[in-house]
């Protein structure tokens, strides 16, 4: 179901954790709230869920004003960062909790509860563990119980706070794919909070990037990656190395080399350019439009060759394809760099 957020503001003391945010989340969408810690993303999620209440602004869920509604009245499912499972209840009872509460009308029969809980546990692949207690489960399993519990009440909106934050890399990758499948299957509007840009770009239909309680940019993963609206967004989405430049004749001039600009060109004059590590090539020395640099460090990481290069005293990071780099490279070696493209923002 759609969510419309207008000028939502939340202050803690004098500090505005969420500062006048406008955001529309479409029905059935998988939306990521991405930002560094302290950017207000979790507070925004909690306000959507009814766990915190806004000082100003309005929040509509499916067109109804839900700004001050109680959490259960919003019919949202919330998955907490640390799962918040009831540790004195079995997996089955945890998932059944929302179906047994007295506010539930009409009452659901015990047989019906059993069917629905087991179907959900089937969905999260935990049916054989329904009698276990939470502390007998691994982190990934607990996260799946938390998700099943949130889905049991058939929420209109599913909210997840740093859903994979506490898990190791492999489990995280599995759960990501699995969450996307579940979202596709159920079609429930889903909002999740993350500080991991890769997670946001990989999983979400659209990403909202937050900074200091405000939204910097909203767009599809490709849009925000290809055309970051601000230096902050560019930097946060792996902007690479920051270099000073001068904008002239529709390009950025860095150390005498002309570099094509991919985002909206700022007015001519001094500016800041971000060069992503993938957008740097090594070129034969002295070729036109290249910059001389010295290799400081070489790290082979799986299929990649990561280089730290010294460009006029600034460290520039570059990533090359290890198997497509026939040159023999060594630290201390002088090389030439070709910068393929840059994101440029007014200084």
């Amino acid at each position: 179901m759609s969510i419309n957020i207008n000028n939502l503001t939340k202050r803690f003391g004098g500090f505005a954790a969420v500062d006048g945010i406008d955001l529309d989340i479409h029905s059935g969408e998988l939306m990521a709230l991405l930002g560094p810690s302290g950017s207000g993303k979790t507070t925004l999620l909690r306000m959507i869920g009814g766990l915190d209440f806004a000082d100003e602004g309005t929040l509509l869920i499916e067109g109804e004003d839900a700004t001050i509604a109680e959490p259960h009245a919003r019919r949202v499912g919330f998955v907490f960062q640390h799962y918040a499972l009831f540790r004195h209840m079995s997996v089955f009872e945890n998932v059944a909790f929302g179906l047994r509460v007295s506010r539930r009308r009409p009452k659901i029969s015990e047989a019906e509860i059993r069917t629905r809980v087991m179907n959900l546990l089937e969905l999260v692949q935990l049916a054989p563990l329904s009698d276990r207690y939470p502390n007998q489960l691994s982190g990934g399993q607990r996260q799946r119980v938390a998700l099943a519990r949130a889905l049991a009440t058939e929420p209109r909106v599913l909210l997840l706070d740093e859903p994979f934050g506490a898990l190791d890399a492999k489990v995280r990758k599995e759960l990501r794919r699995w969450l996307r499948d579940i979202h596709k299957g159920m079609g429930v509007t889903t909002v999740f909070v993350t500080h991991d840009q890769e997670e946001a770009l990989e999983l979400a239909d659209r990403v909202a990037i937050l900074n200091k309680g405000r939204i910097e940019q909203v767009g599809t993963p490709a849009e925000v990656y290809d055309n970051p609206a601000s230096a902050f967004v560019c930097d946060f989405l792996g902007g690479g190395t920051r270099l000073e430049c001068v904008v002239a004749d529709g390009a950025a001039v860095i150390g005498g080399a002309r570099v094509p600009v991919v985002n909206d060109l700022p007015p001519p004059g001094p500016a800041t350019a971000y060069i992503r590590a993938h957008d740097i090539d090594l070129a034969p020395a002295g070729e036109a439009g290249t910059l001389p640099a010295i290799i400081r460090l070489i790290q082979p990481v799986g299929p990649q060759l990561r280089l730290d290069l010294d460009l006029d005293g600034k460290v520039v990071e570059a990533v090359l394809d290890r198997h497509a780099t026939p040159l023999l490279l060594a630290p201390g070696q002088a090389v030439s760099l070709r910068l393929r493209r840059a994101n440029v923002y007014p200084a």
């Binding site: 766990l51 259960h72 499912g77 919330f78 907490f80 509460v101």
Partner: protein, 284 residues
Amino acid sequence: MTVSSGFSLFRRRNRSIIPGFGLTMGITLTYLTLIVLIPLAALVIRPWEIGLSGFLHQVTEPRVLAALRLSFGAAFVAAAINAVFGLAVAWMLVRYDFWGKRVVDATVDLPFALPTAVAGIALTALYAPNGWIGQFLDPLGIKVAYTPLGVVVALTFIGLPFVVRTVQPVLEELDTELEEAAACLGATRFETFMRVIFPVIFPALLTGFALALARAVGEYGSVIFIAGNMPMVSEIAPLLIVIKLEQFNYAGAASVGIAMLILSFIMLLVINLLQRWSRRWAGV
């Protein structure tokens, strides 16, 4: 070969990186023997001179039975009162910030520190028919001092800190996310407390209850001042032991002591089993 490899496996399994098992085990046994076991053994050996039938005769005397009933009954009631109000105090101290919280927190420990005789005298003065509180209760026909009710008041006083101090840390550890999760799932406040919070703090509450109960059963100093010590009515078992000692009836005193010991042991065992059951989710 198989024997030696089996042996080395056995050795390996017994190795532990945590040092000091031998040392701490030795200290524990010596200490428990000197402080607990030898005195208790003496208590059991003493009535030997009167035999089992003599023992049964001593403990089934109406005056002894009445004293035991009062001691355990009043202790149970006092511990139950403390379980309810101690939980409320602990809840308030953990959940809310208010002016003077530190003072309230410190006040809870006073029953630990105060000499129990002082507490008994103070409570008697308050609850006597002409005391500050007693003068208002007296017209209502409620007599506290010099009655079994007075015994309950004294035992409630000394037992309060046990419940508060055992429940407090568990409440502090309780994640507020649990309550938020319950609220999101549609639980009312009352349901959240009964089904999410209470089961988690119940084991700690039982421990506090058991400690308060054990302390109250053995309490002497504060009770003898407020109880009035009328045989068959407001005479507690520990006082009866002292009376028997003063009459040089050592075997009789020891018999009452053993009866208290056995009852206490059974009670604590039951509470312990109940606690184990209430924490069945904690085991792996």
